[in-house]
């Protein structure tokens, strides 16, 4: 049922030309995904999905809309060839999932490689009671550091773009001959 809602939201996102509605529907999509994660018992992933997908991403997309414009241009190409390529790729991926182990199979390779060592030795080696925190902050410390750097870079990029725009429009406000712009709030 939730997956059906997810599919409806995805189709609506593709079909609509009003980008504001698309952003709203993308937020709804993230909320459905988060609900599915909760149903699948992955609460921390669901938190991340709700905070990033429904919260931050929606706000960032709306900020982008404020800079660009609200309506999507008409597509100039025929959708037939990309549709065929995507269908073939999707069919190949679905065919590939038939080789995967069953859901929650304890004999799956992912549960045999390093996971037992993390579970058994983790509390002794790291000393953090929460297993996920121990793996993320200690065993995969460099990985997490790289992710933080990526997110920091993206945030700095977005902030510099938005800040440039705001400074220019406030400069336009200051000069007397230009028409008034809408941004009258003080810079944050």
């Amino acid at each position: 049922m939730l997956l059906t809602l997810l599919a409806i939201a995805a189709v609506a996102v593709v079909r609509l030309r009003d980008l504001f509605a698309v952003v709203m529907l993308a937020g709804i999509y993230s909320l459905i995904t988060a609900a599915i994660f909760v149903v699948l018992d992955a609460a921390d992933v669901a938190f991340t999905e709700a905070a990033v997908g429904a919260g931050i991403a929606t706000v960032l997309m709306l900020a982008t809309l404020a800079l660009t414009g609200r309506w999507e241009a008409k597509p100039r190409h025929r959708p037939l060839l990309p549709l065929i390529v995507v269908t073939i790729t999707g069919a190949a991926l679905i065919w590939g999932t038939t080789d995967m182990p069953h859901f929650a199979d304890p004999a799956a390779p992912i549960h045999q490689h390093v996971a037992p060592r993390y579970i058994e030795e983790g509390p002794k080696e790291v000393g953090v009671p929460n297993m996920v925190t121990a793996i993320l902050a200690s065993y995969r410390g460099y990985d997490t550091l790289g992710e933080v750097i990526v997110i920091f870079t993206a945030g700095v990029g977005v902030l510099s773009l938005l800040g440039l725009r705001r400074r220019r429009s406030s400069a336009a406000d200051a000069s007397p001959s230009t028409p008034p712009t809408t941004s009258e709030e003080p810079p944050r």
């Binding site: 009003d18 709203m24 529907l25 909320l31 988060a34 919260g55 929606t58 706000v59 809408t182």
Partner: protein, 91 residues
């Protein structure tokens, strides 16, 4: 009874989704996503009690906070975005 509540919430979620995807006013859409967030909170809470794990209630509360902050941010930004004209009047 919790199962019936979950089903009802899912139906209302579908209705909100339809409202958000139909053409309409900007504020209808904002109201739709706000209501959808509320329904997600309710669904997680009801599902937690359905599967006898009341600790899902904490997750639902956090969702409510995220939803509230998100809607405030959306409304603040909408003032700037919503005024732009549609392509029919543009071109």
């Amino acid at each position: 009874m919790f199962a019936a509540a979950c089903l009802g919430i899912l139906v209302v979620m579908a209705l909100a989704l339809v409202r958000a995807s139909l053409p309409g006013n900007v504020y209808d859409r904002i109201l739709a996503i706000n209501m959808f967030g509320t329904k997600t909170v309710l669904f997680i809470a009801a599902y937690g009690f359905l599967t006898e794990r009341p600790d899902f209630l904490d997750i639902a509360l956090t969702y409510a906070l995220i939803n509230f902050i998100g809607i405030i941010a959306v409304l603040k930004l909408v003032e700037r975005v919503a005024g732009t004209a549609s392509p029919e009047t543009d071109e």
